[in-house]
Amino acid sequence: MIQAQTEAATTVVDVDELLSRCLGNLEFAERIIAIFQARCSTDLEQLEEAIDQQDLQRVAAVAHRLKGACANAAAHPLCERISQLRQAACANALDDVTARFQEVQDEWAHFVAAVPELQWKTDG
């Protein structure tokens, strides 16, 4: 069985799901997490910039891409927050977008804090 070591880490990423998508390859899963983190930080910067410019179409487009990344990386809580941000952007609700973006950033901070704890182990 494969599991993550700490509870904090399992709340940000569904480890079993991610590992099955990596065909059980631990090193590859770690690499995916690294790629995912890099992608997220770039996309969050882009989102912030788009929100500053009130370009909600761009917010929706970036959020769509990021949502797909979160879903496949099994980062479900972050995925949920970004999905809400995207909905707000599609609804053209700027205030809501700003509020939702704050929630995304909070969740992201949570993710970043938890990732170092994300050590995979296999037993059996």
């Binding site: 998508r21 065909l23 059980g24 496949n72």
Partner: protein, 402 residues
């Protein structure tokens, strides 16, 4: 006058089919660089490298996390994988013919997944490309649009590895059906093999059919009928229009001079012989749309818009669209090539005859489509002219039959 010109009764020989287009070396290099940046397939020994005979899969996805995960799984399933980030680049790579399957995201910069699919369906004809679109849950609109664009299957994000594997295996089975398409064309060529003169007629006329249908697919009144699948079916089945000639005796089919009225009546039977043969097959395979279309084309390619054609004297839009399109394509090629009963006409002269026939012999809409895409049609005529040195690469069909 048109009747003798238009009955393309004295036809053909065996000639190779035209293979089309190649992407630039720069495009390929860029794509390879992208892939190399994204992925290192030597990770942890899960994936093994195999020879290049692996089936090529192109992953088109601007979200690098998903792209990476997909590529890793596909390589482990034994496919040769390339990843690109946008639709334009993907389109160039598909044109090389190196990829039999595409797994594409929906929203991407430059070109959406559906648009990429549509363009592939319209332009890539030498081999079928199996197209899987990635969608999110609850985006049913995407599925409808994707199907209209000619997508073969869908995969929801986040994907499940086993589902991905199953979808791609289905794709492999569908690709194996391509041998069916080669058989269809072979059958059509065999029909014409009793004749010596028509050369690349079938190859050219199906290109004309494709161009005409492609034009109509943009018109509001045809949009719901003429989609990517329709265009492809027309391309596949139009070469069967004269298949009923197998039932016409040599003394009539191969007669060098003008046919007597009795002989002409016999010649006309090729429409019903072909149509009925295909209709019998259709009744046993109800859902095979290509058989239905092939039947309609065989029956109706000599019908006239004014109702004075044969075999049934159908008129106007009672004649199936595929028959109306094939009529123009078939006649244009008969006019612009040399036949025993006539010299080769210039494009200008052929164009005049087609335009004169609008509303009498031909559907005026199809003639309008012909005029709008005139330049493309003349380009095909030029590039596939058997007398031109530029024509004819390796005969793919012969290779497939060998």
């Amino acid at each position: 006058m048109a009747e003798t010109l238009i009955d393309t009764s004295v036809l053909t020989a065996d000639a190779p089919r035209q293979e089309i287009v190649v992407a630039t070396v720069a495009d390929l290099a860029a794509a390879t660089r992208n892939t190399a940046l994204l992925r290192d397939t030597s990770v942890a020994g899960v994936c093994h490298s195999a020879p290049d005979s692996r089936l090529g899969v192109l992953v088109v996805e601007d979200d690098c996390v998903s792209a990476e995960l997909l590529a890793n799984s596909l390589e482990c399933f034994g496919y040769r994988v390339t990843v690109v980030e946008d639709g334009l680049e993907a389109f160039e790579l598909v044109r090389t013919g190196d990829y039999r399957m595409v797994v594409s995201g929906w929203e991407m910069p430059e070109m959406t997944g559906a648009e990429l699919c549509r363009r592939i369906r319209q332009r890539d004809w030498s081999r079928y490309v199996y197209f899987v679109l990635l969608t999110s849950h609850n985006e049913l609109g995407h599925i409808v649009e994707g199907l209209k664009a000619g997508a073969d299957d869908f995969l929801t994000k986040p994907f499940q590895v086993e589902e991905l594997r199953a979808r791609l295996r289905t794709g492999e089975r569908v690709l194996s059906l391509e041998s069916r398409d080669v058989m269809l064309f072979t059958l059509a060529k065999m029909t014409e093999s009793r004749d010596i003169e028509t050369g690349m007629h079938l190859e050219r006329m199906r290109e004309y059919c494709r161009i005409l249908a492609e034009e109509l697919s943009h018109w509001t009144e045809f949009k719901s009928t003429v989609d990517g699948e329709y265009i492809e079916l027309l391309y596949l089945t139009s070469p069967l229009h004269d298949i009923g000639k197998v039932g016409i005796p040599d003394r009539v089919l191969l007669k060098p001079g003008r046919l007597t009225p009795e002989e002409f009546e016999i010649m006309k039977l090729h429409t019903t012989i072909g149509g009925e043969t295909l209709a019998a097959a259709t009744s046993q395979h109800q859902d095979a749309r290509f058989l239905t279309m092939a039947r309609d084309i065989a029956f109706t390619h000599h019908e006239r818009f004014d109702g004075k054609g044969y075999p049934r004297g159908m008129a106007g839009r009672d004649i199936p669209l595929c028959g109306r399109v094939t009529a123009v394509a078939d006649v244009y090629d008969a006019l612009t090539t040399r036949r025993v009963y006539k010299p080769k006409f210039s494009h200008q002269r052929a164009r005049e005859i087609i335009v004169e026939g609008a509303g009498t012999q031909f559907d005026p809409d199809v003639v309008k489509a012909f005029l709008r895409r005139e330049q493309e049609i003349t380009e095909v005529a030029r590039s596939m002219d058997e007398n031109s040195a530029a024509a004819m690469p390796v005969p793919a069909m012969k290779a497939a039959m060998a």
